[in-house]
């Protein structure tokens, strides 16, 4: 199957070739290859970035480790691990002891699992660790140490806090409002300290604020905290929404609403969380209007309405404690401050607000853009998935099972599902190139299924041909739009080939077959001059079309040209240094040898026919040694045996003829038994039985010959009953009857011979009334039969 056009598949293919380029040149290379297709360029570049940040994810055999729980390491740096505290998706926290013996210290060790962080995130983790190490505050759990384990998993060692979440502690201790406010003020002081050090906590929740048995507040889990800087703001905006480690890290309910929209975390989002925490702390106590106002101001939905900083919140709490009017209630900024300070603070606030406002506007725009993009992406994705699914069924699944015997029924079911779908696709007047190519490919596969030549099929050749025409139509549209699309050319050459074959074999329209074949050959030769054609199957399809050319020449009785073309192609193949599997090469050499032998046999040049035919049989034997069940090669071998039997027969090499004929019958039976629903299979058996009967009539037991030919005729008649409308099967019956007559006469059953020939003539007459008699039948078979009848003195 050729490469198809979905964006995702193009991106996969392009990325694969991009990786062959030296790494600094990849992006430029991708742009050069993708031309104007900006969507493709962006997609491939984003995948390329993903590749470089993949780190140690999805390692060889890593599945069990990623699923199973990693056993706790014995040590992390100087710490001996004693027990597991908690486990999360990205790693685990252990309790550890300092092992060096110089002093005792219990620590909490957080270990990031190997493979979950990319290299760039590991670097970030390291950076955060260094900044956190500088924080020294009684209400912030200290960070002692950090490093990496042997397997490169990063770890940090923190102060081990044996405590309870603040809300739980307050409830257990049954604290009143004042005590709760004191504790809350400590929390605020710790956050304020972090903010002064340019660190935002980002995840202020009750479970990250512990109270020790001694009643001391400890903020933990600054793991995601990172410095406030312009560089960082930029980082966060670019990553938003959702892709950076930090921007996803918040607890719904505690996180500021703007963060849910992908905004960067900042001091004001921490402030919002503090407001929410206060709300949680006082919720079961009698209501206080002042406290409610403070909570409302801290956790105002609108950022500009919040306190300007944690300092302002602390100040207002102090106002409440000292029974002064709280800012939150009168909204006035500052009769308690000097004018100077007031003005400066106001300026600072305004400055901060406007910068923030700008940033937020940017982030929101970005967010909305991403939302629209995402909606489009998902719509496209659903379409792609549906298309992909149908394509997978008809190409991948179909191709995979096509040559496996016994799958005909499965493939029939596949066809029904897919046919409805592609009819819908094809009716879209705006269908893009890749959809058209899909339509073509799927029609082609379906065509094979209904009546493909040389593959197990349902015997419905009419439907099969119509499907090919549809494929041709879709590809013509596509090639009008993009005449240089090698994938479309590739598929078109294939469609032309199948079409030409059907015209030749089912419709017996040799002129049409030759025309279609010539179109395919020309297209293939043209396509092979385009860049990228070596990625397609064009080379092989050119050769397929060439084999067809020889076959058509033979059908048209131009044997001399057929023989010389076959020889020319064989020589060209032998001299070609095109790199391909030996199996393919053997297959092609075998094929041309077979055609050459067939043509020679048809010219009754029996002696000359034998060497190429023997060559062909042995070439196929070599291939079949590797894969005995191959439908195709069994068929090819069987076909080569036909003229070989005939040549032996004519040269009166009885033993050789019998051996070859029996071999051919066996092959035919193998093919038929592989797929009992396959209409061709029975035809093959009949043909080989006919041949065997002729050999047996001349060189074997007459009774054997008689039963063999009866078997063949029974099959022919049964096939016609099953497929009434396929004229080819009637033609086969006429041929079988003609042969049967010869067999009967040879074993001295002249009467039966005469009646059999009469029947043959009447079948041919029926065909003639349907204007479906070929030249051979009219000019060769009919006179031959008449001659036979005359020679045998048959009654009129």
């Amino acid at each position: 199957m050729s490469a198809t056009g979905s964006l995702e598949q193009q991106a996969l293919a392009l990325l694969e070739t991009a990786l062959e380029q030296p790494s600094p040149e990849r992006v430029a290379w991708i742009r050069a290859q993708a031309g104007q297709d900006e969507a493709l360029i962006q997609r491939v570049i984003s995948l390329l970035e993903m590749d470089s940040s993949a780190g140690a994810t999805l390692r060889t055999g890593g599945a069990s480790r990623d699923v199973g729980q990693t056993p706790a390491p014995d040590h992390a740096g100087p710490y001996r691990i004693t027990e597991l505290i908690a486990r999360g998706g990205m790693g685990a926290v252990y309790k550890g002891e300092r092992d060096t013996g110089d002093f005792e210290q219990t620590v909490a060790i957080k270990i990031i699992r190997p493979g979950v962080l990319s290299d760039s995130l590991i670097a970030r983790f390291e950076m955060e660790r260094q900044i956190l190490a500088k924080l020294s505050h009684p209400n912030i759990a200290s960070l002692f140490d950090g490093g990496a384990l042997e397997d490169r998993s990063p770890y940090i060692a923190m102060e081990f806090v044996d405590g309870d979440p603040i809300t739980q502690w307050c409830d257990t201790a049954n604290l009143g409002l004042d005590d709760r406010l004191w504790l809350f003020q400590d929390v605020c002081a710790a956050v304020q300290y972090a903010h002064q050090n340019l660190i935002v906590h980002r995840d202020i929740t009750p479970s990250n604020i512990l109270v020790t048995k001694a009643g001391q507040i400890k903020l933990i889990d600054f793991g995601i905290a990172k410095p406030q800087s312009n560089v960082d703001l930029q980082d966060d905006t670019q990553d938003a929404p959702g892709k950076s480690l930090a921007s996803l890290s918040f607890t719904p309910g505690y996180a500021a609403p703007e963060r849910a929209k992908g905004a960067l975390a900042n001091t004001l989002s921490d402030l919002y969380s503090l407001g929410k925490l206060l709300e949680d702390l006082v919720q079961d106590l009698p209501a206080s209007a002042d406290i409610a106002a403070i909570i409302a101001k801290a956790s105002a939905h609108d950022i500009a309405s919040r306190y300007a900083s944690v300092d302002a919140l602390i100040d207002d709490l102090k106002n409440y404690r000292t029974k002064k009017p709280v800012d939150a209630r009168n909204g006035g900024a500052g009769y308690r401050f000097s004018k100077f300070f007031q003005r400066n603070r106001l300026l600072m606030t305004l400055g901060a607000v406007s910068v923030l406002g700008l940033t937020i506007a940017l982030v929101i725009t970005q967010y909305q853009y991403n939302r629209a993009e995402a909606a489009l992406f998902h719509a496209n994705e659903r379409f792609e998935q549906a298309r992909g699914l149908s394509k997978a069924m008809i190409t991948d699944v179909y191709d995979a099972i096509e040559h496996i015997p016994g799958t005909l029924e499965v493939r029939e079911n596949l066809a029904g599902i897919v046919k409805t779908y592609i009819d819908g696709l094809a009716s879209d007047p705006n269908a893009p190139d890749n959809v058209l190519l899909d339509v073509a490919i799927q029609n082609t596969r379906l065509s094979d299924l209904y009546g493909g030549l040389g593959v197990a099929n349902l015997g419905d050749t009419e439907t099969s041909y119509v499907l090919l025409l549809r494929a041709e139509q879709a590809l013509s549209r596509l090639l009008e739009q993009s005449p240089d699309d090698v994938n479309a050319i590739d598929e078109m050459v294939w469609v032309k080939r199948l079409k030409s074959n059907q015209e030749m074999t089912y419709q017996l329209d040799m002129a049409a077959a030759q025309k279609t074949n010539a179109e395919g050959l020309a297209l293939a030769e043209r396509g092979l001059t385009f860049p990228g054609s070596q990625e397609t199957r064009l080379y092989f399809r050119l050769w397929n079309s060439r084999t067809d050319r020889v076959k058509i020449l033979m059908y048209e009785n131009d044997y001399d040209t057929a023989i010389s073309e076959a020889r020319r192609y064989r020589e060209e193949l032998a001299a070609s240094n095109f790199e391909e599997e030996p199996r393919r090469r053997n297959s092609r050499l075998g094929y041309f040898a077979r055609l050459e032998g067939e043509a020679l046999a048809d010219r009754q040049r029996w002696e000359e026919a034998i060497p190429p035919l023997v060559y062909a049989v042995s070439a196929y034997d070599t291939i079949l040694e590797e894969d005995r069940s191959s439908y195709y090669y069994n068929l090819q071998k069987m076909t080569a045996l036909g003229p070989l039997v005939m040549s032996y027969l004519k040269l009166e090499r009885g033993e050789d003829a019998l051996l070859a004929a029996r071999g051919a019958v066996e092959l035919a039976e193998t093919l038929r038994d592989g797929d009992p629903m396959d209409a061709s299979g029975r035809g093959y058996v009949a043909t080989q039985l006919e041949m065997l009967a002729r050999v047996q009539a001349s060189f074997g037991e007459p009774s054997q010959a008689q039963s063999t030919i009866t078997g063949a005729l029974d099959i022919r008649r049964a096939v016609i009953t099953d497929f009434q409308d396929t004229l080819g099967h009637r033609r086969d019956l006429a041929g079988a009857l003609k042969t049967a007559g010869v067999v009967y006469q040879t074993i001295d059953m002249t009467e039966t011979a005469c009646s059999t020939w009469r029947e043959a003539l009447s079948v041919l007459d029926q065909l003639e009334t349907k204007e479906s008699l070929t030249e051979i039948e009219r000019d060769v078979w009919k006179p031959e039969i008449l001659e036979h009848r005359q020679a045998a003195d048959c009654p009129e």
């Binding site: 991106a11 993949a54 699923v67 056993p71 999360g88 909490a108 930090a246 890290s249 496996i404 069940s629």
Partner: protein, 193 residues
């Protein structure tokens, strides 16, 4: 594992090679149950062993067939089938674990360090892998062989009949695509974007 199973699986392998898909399915079932057994201890984290997935696959395969006594082509097909069975075992396990987790919610200290997008969720991986196989079955197979089957690049190259460098490139492309797809799947699942 008794002797009759050993004989049985060899016959199944031969039948499969001859085109019998029922035999393949039967063989898959055998492998699946073997793998489930040999990997149970590891997945429960009861022991401190450090068996990799590849070791497990080989172990399970060995219990069914003496690998050195079969032809290379058979062996590679067999290992590839084992990789598929391993994938099933691990996905089953991950899903079970996930549903257990939902049953009793617990507060953890390690709350927020994991960006959801970075977590390797087997379920999401499996869904992404199925999508990849629709787009490019060859690449999805390579992921299966490598990540679930623990096969080396060289072994995979031999199984799929491509050069090692081609396999490696395909692997990188598949991995990049999967990681991207998994982020996408995760974000959608979390309802954050």
């Amino acid at each position: 594992m008794n002797n009759s199973n050993l004989v049985n699986s060899k016959q199944l392998l031969q039948a499969w090679r001859a085109g019998d898909t029922d035999a393949r399915d039967a063989l898959f079932k055998l492998l699946y149950s073997e793998l489930r057994q040999v990997s149970a201890a590891l997945l429960r984290a009861e022991s401190n062993n450090s068996l990799s997935t590849g070791d497990l696959v080989n172990e399970a395969a060995l219990r069914l067939i003496k690998l050195d006594q079969i032809e290379w082509a058979d062996k590679s097909h067999f290992l590839a089938l084992s990789a598929r069975a391993m994938r099933r075992v691990l996905i089953d396990h991950a899903r079970k674990k996930k549903s257990d987790k939902r049953a009793h919610h617990k507060v953890t200290l390690v709350t927020r360090i994991e960006g959801a997008a970075q977590r390797l969720d087997m379920d999401v991986l499996e869904k992404s892998l199925i999508r990849l196989s629709v787009l490019d079955a060859e690449k999805a197979d390579i992921v299966e062989l490598r990540y679930f089957g623990g096969m080396s690049l060289q072994e995979i190259a031999e199984v799929v009949g491509a050069s090692q460098s081609t396999v490696k490139r395909q692997w990188r492309v598949a991995r990049a695509w999967l990681l991207d797809a998994m982020m996408e799947g995760q974000n959608v699942g979390d309802g954050i974007t």
